[in-house]
Assembly symmetry: C2
């Protein structure tokens, strides 16, 4: 149990912590802006300074992209080492016009903190730092030796993380690890994630005529790259919502009966979920498959945007020279990103009509993850969640991709505890992202409890 | 034949005319910019001033959109009245980065004048004004009574033209009409258009969840509006490139054998056409139908742009709340715009999946046109073209839409001579639009000859 002086410390410093978190949220640290034209560097510097203030040996660690932040506080001889991971980069804020307040000027309304990154992931890493501070200032020091790694490219698929970890493997060696980048299954249901979907993100470009053409003069003669692209995207699913790529489902692990039973206990309410999204029906994914299975244990193929032609106000009768779609596939264990990418290449080569050329540019991806839900660190995570929130915690999957988890497994040989205090309605990746302040306060107690419990996991 | 003093006048005033045309081209008179935030008003004012300088009674005539320009020079008692139509609005210039020189700062390179509108349609209406000036200054006055109408909304489908013509029908009454808004069939082949395709331009919006969603958390559960839209667009064509709308081809008039023979004489070279567009194959439109028939005598359905989701650099894994496609259908006689629009509405209602809503917003359209190629005014047009260019002229169709033509037929009861000196490689509606100066000079002689010949058509 977390000692009372720590709880009192956290209780007494809420105003100060909220002010500090707001400072962190003011950096528009969007990783997908190329070059230095963003706030990733300054945001990383802020974190280094903050960690140093807590007694860490901390520094900015360059990568081939945005810098990471590395810190160590190893002052507990004989205690196990814990690696703590989070990310300080955030999703782009657009569409800006839908935000009630400025995404980079945090505002508290109705006990919720609104800002881009408030939930994903700055709020979560700040809760960890609050817990560290409480142990250092009011608990006589951390019960574990802690190594901190804050990444700056999670929202663009962590393209430089794996080589970074491989190069720093010795520095990052640990007995257990925490990935502070997730959330509750539902309000009132804290949870630990034991499986995540992987991701392949790519751009598919169809090129037709050498310049934009007038659809009156040339329409009917030339293949329109936008129509061709729409046709290719449409053909990637059959009428039952299944992805048509050759061998796409070959390696998908079936869901066990034990998992199905465990999930039933979660009390997922399909109608309530649909209503929360403003939907009358949940018609995505494969027909005849349960919604929870479609979200957690089945792969998908989504279109995220289509460029080309005319998209401003009014009308323009153009046949564009080229059109590009941003597409992604969410993968589940044991699908291989390289294999599905090759299958997509073959599909496009086979299905694109004569008279156009195609190009596929693959962004960073992530392998799917499945971990042992019965491992001691996982149990420690469940217990810490129950202690902090006073609620029973559950082992769950998540449909999103947290590349670090699979890379931790494969490169560092450690299976991390994936947790966080986000809520499903936090609007991560959407306008008006928020963090419930109650979750921030309790999340810091969870973090304090988890350090304590991981001191017994070697 | 055009009197020699007129030819000498046109020859002697080339520098001055080029400077004046450049003035006209500097106005960025883009009709699809709403409100007054464009140069349509100032451009119309410039035309009024120029016409007054030629002796016209001229004025700006308000419409519910951009103003029109109206002018009369009726000083030839007993002569027939001719109505001259052109448009001063231009297509948007984007993508700007592909222009060699500023689209609104005209530049002559290699005896070609580069600017947005140089060919379509400012160059063509200016050639008409050069001919008027020659008759007035060097010919003792025009051989006809001339009414001029320059529109400011042709490039957005002339949404306010029909009520305008109906309201001004008495002022616009004429024995014949000229629509100066077309071009050569090919280099060396001047032509008169006797048939045009119509147009229905619309936006199709698919709305799914009430806000943008994270594709990891929700992908597979909810229908993605972009994927739904792609599927709808794809389904609008079958595997043979035919539009699948119910009854779409019902009213399409078949091509006559006489027309086929006439077209063969044009010597259209399919391979050369494909090469000029940078294409290895002409795979648009209906399989098994000749390319010229597909361009001129068959309807199409094209996508011009898709909005929604994330289209900036990098990756964002968003399922957008809504997605919108700009679509148009080119129609041929005797298809009815309203009927195909209704058919599209029925198609979308039938094919959109549960869990999304759809909306169709129709922009202005145009009916298809078919005129009598043997009418006296048409013959006058052919002869004037031959006189100006010294080349045999042909009766042709065109796949584009010039709404004024059908409206002239229906509202004013006059079938216009549709001609112009554009060339297929003028890049109208595309970057680096140009006008060959040789065509400008000869086009003004054609205009002078046509006024003379129409003085005999009552």
């Amino acid at each position: 149990m977390v000692p009372d002086p720590l709880k009192a410390y956290l209780q007494d410093h809420r105003d100060e912590h909220l002010d500090k978190l707001k400072e962190l949220l003011r950096f528009p640290s969007i990783a997908n802006v190329p070059g230095d034209a963003n706030a990733c560097g300054p945001c990383a510097e802020w974190l280094v300074t903050h960690l140093k203030g807590l007694g860490f040996d901390a520094r900015m660690a360059p990568t081939d992209g945005k810098p990471a932040v590395l810190g160590t506080l190893h002052e507990t001889p004989g205690a196990p080492t814990v690696l703590l991971y989070g990310h300080y980069d955030v999703q782009p804020p657009d569409p800006l016009e839908l935000w009630v307040s400025d995404p980079f000027e945090p505002e508290v309304r109705d006990e919720k903190l609104y800002a881009r990154g408030a939930s994903d992931d700055k709020g979560r890493i700040f809760a960890q730092m609050m817990a560290i501070e409480a142990w250092v200032r009011a608990g006589g020091g951390l019960p574990v030796n802690l190594t901190v790694l804050f990444e700056g490219e999670e929202e663009i698929g962590s393209p430089n993380l794996e080589p970074f970890l491989a190069a720093h493997a010795a520095d990052l060696a640990s007995n257990s690890a925490i990935v502070a980048d997730s959330g509750f299954f539902a309000p009132g249901v804290p949870s630990i994630i034991y499986a995540l979907r992987g991701l392949v993100y790519l751009e598919l470009t169809v090129t037709g005529p050498s310049s934009d053409l007038h659809s009156g003069s040339h329409g009917g003669a030339v293949a329109n790259p936008l129509n061709v692209l729409a046709r290719l995207i449409a053909k990637l699913h059959d009428d039952q919502g299944r992805v048509t790529l050759d061998g796409f489902y070959d390696n998908v692990l079936p869901l066990s009966e034990a998992e199905r039973r465990e999930w039933e206990a979660l009390g997922f309410d399909e109608a309530q979920y649909a209503a929360s999204l403003g939907l009358s029906a949940l018609t995505g994914g494969e027909a005849g498959v349960d919604v929870m299975e479609r979200r957690w244990a089945r792969p998908t193929l989504e279109c995220h945007g289509i460029m080309g032609g005319y998209t401003d106000e009014g009308s323009k009768t153009v046949i564009p020279s080229k059109a590009t779609a941003k597409l992604s596939m969410r993968l589940v264990a044991a699908q291989e990103p390289d294999r599905v990418t090759e299958s997509l290449r073959a599909f496009v080569a086979e299905n694109a009509p004569a008279g156009v050329t195609t190009e596929i540019r693959v962004h960073a991806g992530a392998r799917p993850v499945q971990m042992d839900p019965d491992a001691p660190a996982m149990k420690a995570g469940l217990e810490a969640q129950e202690e902090g929130f006073g609620l029973p915690a559950r082992m769950i999957r998540n449909g999103a991709s947290v590349p670090i988890v699979e890379v931790f497994q494969r490169v560092l040989g450690v299976e991390p505890v994936v947790l966080g205090m986000g809520l499903p309605d936090d609007n991560t990746h959407a306008p008006n992202e928020k963090l419930d302040l109650d979750h921030l306060w309790k999340g810091s107690v969870v973090a304090a409890a988890l350090f304590q419990r991981l001191s017994g996991v070697k």
